[in-house]
Symmetry: C2
Subunit: 147 residues, 2 copies
């Protein structure tokens, strides 16, 4: 999927980002929160297997439960429900029930959810741009591990 890579930009770190990084680095391993750390649970979400796919699937337009399931692919109803609940709880996705018969439910991105796609998307673009480099690096690494 997603063959958009058009070279390796290797973007530089902007000032606000650097400020953020420095403040994290300065924090120097205080184990205090780390579970409470707001950054952590956002990052965890992003890393969770299905979160990203669902956000991306909802970006063009709101969708219903089974539409989502078909679009995302082989996600189980269990995981789809669970992930949607989390996103709803975080205020990234809205859930609207239509009392038709049988009932239908529509999920949509909130403003917050849409705004999250900007930095997440940037990360995706980075990943797409550099995955060839990464793949090559892995092959080289694995090759000399055999020795």
């Amino acid at each position: 999927m997603t063959r958009l890579h058009s070279g390796n930009p290797l973007p530089e770190i902007s000032d606000p980002v650097r400020a953020m990084l420095d403040s994290m680095a300065a924090w120097t391993g205080a184990p205090e929160d780390e579970a409470q750390c707001p950054v952590r649970d956002v990052l965890d979400r992003v890393g969770q297997k299905w979160t990203l796919l669902i956000l991306v699937a909802l970006e063009p337009s709101p969708k219903r439960f089974s539409q989502l399931q078909r679009q995302v692919g082989d996600i189980s109803k269990r995981m789809l429900t669970q992930t949607l609940r989390q996103l709803e709880r975080d205020g990234m996705v809205s859930r609207q029930v239509f009392p038709t018969k049988p009932p239908s439910v529509e999920y949509a991105l909130t403003d917050l959810g849409r705004s999250a796609l900007a930095p997440i998307g940037a990360l995706l673009v980075w990943a797409d741009s550099n995955h060839e480099t990464i793949r090559a690096s892995r092959e080289a690494f694995d090759a000399e591990e055999v020795s």
Copy 2:
């Protein structure tokens, strides 16, 4: 940690990012790769508990094994080794052994690793800016779940 939030920017989605998103959404659930998907394993890395902390810790300057362990906090040697190996394999971190006695090893960000911190940092800034909103949303959600 990291109390830099100065309001909620709610950034908009830029054109290249939108192109990326669309190409993902258009992909419409082909389960073909998904394990091979380059985007997936990059995202997985970011989500892994220690990857981010290590990258951030290495950004200001290269560091040695035990320096890293102290700075990151309560990471075990096992996990530190494992995470560093992955990052080295991906070409994000370089590893240089100095044949002193006892031996010392220095880890440093590569250009690739540093470049990754730009989009990752942007995501961190977003998380930091919006975690109050998210927290509030969660409380509201949990409150009416009780009913």
